[in-house]
Amino acid sequence: MSADTAHMTDYKFKLSNNRLGLWLFILSDSFVFGGLLVTRYYLLGGHRPELDQMLGLIVTSVLLVSSFFMNRAETAIAHGDRQNFIVSTAITMILGIGFLVGVIGFEWRTAPFGPSDGAAGSVFYMMTGMHAFHVLTGVLFLFVVLRNGLRGRYSAERHWAVEACANYWHFVDVVWIFFYPALYLLGTPAG
């Protein structure tokens, strides 16, 4: 066994640990979002907050497309396509920022209620706020990956950071898959 292959075996062993760890973290975190969904149905039931449908559809699409580019970035680095990896990561990050601007910059400003206006306000700002916090951390993670990627830290054989970032990003997307109907589509608008 050469030192190099020993190193690689060690890396692969840790990679498996890391994967399991990340999934457990995701499982744990999903309980927070589950709790928020429970809160939403407990307090609002068959009503939903009065929100801008068009904006909702736009931010949902932005996040969905960002997930696609995230996956593209991971596929690229796994096949050693550095150029494509850098571009896709950058696009993902820009879309993520776009999502934040859409939710915080527009939806929070245009919503017909503030955080202290009734249960609908509480639920809406808490759910979007908690999700936006996760998007923000995801954007920071993307920034780190992009910066280290530009310095050539990742290769087809070793790119756990990219995989972790991608999985985290997709998880944030999965959360929104449930939050979008819960906030925008299900039930009748509350007065």
């Binding site: 990679l15 699409s61 696609f68 996956n71 999985n167 997709h170 589509l185 039930g187």
Partner: protein, 69 residues
């Protein structure tokens, strides 16, 4: 991702298209048939399953052997 590069990219694109179609369907149902709320939940579950399987590659965690491939 036990495929060549091109196939992997194509798979990503197909996933995106399917998710986009489902999202459109969600919006359509919410506007046209609000009483069909069960469908919205089912679609959300399907979308989540698709992302977990094809973007997050959950199967990798159950593989004994580590390594990116």
């Amino acid at each position: 991702m036990d495929k060549n590069k091109g196939a992997a990219y194509t798979q990503g694109l197909i996933t995106l298209v399917v998710l986009a179609v489902l999202t459109g369907a969600e919006y359509g149902i919410a506007v046209a048939l609000p009483s069909l709320w069960v469908a919205l939940i089912v679609i959300a579950l399907i979308k989540a399953a698709i992302v977990i399987q094809f973007f997050m590659h959950i199967a990798r965690v159950f593989r004994e052997e580590g390594g990116h491939s």
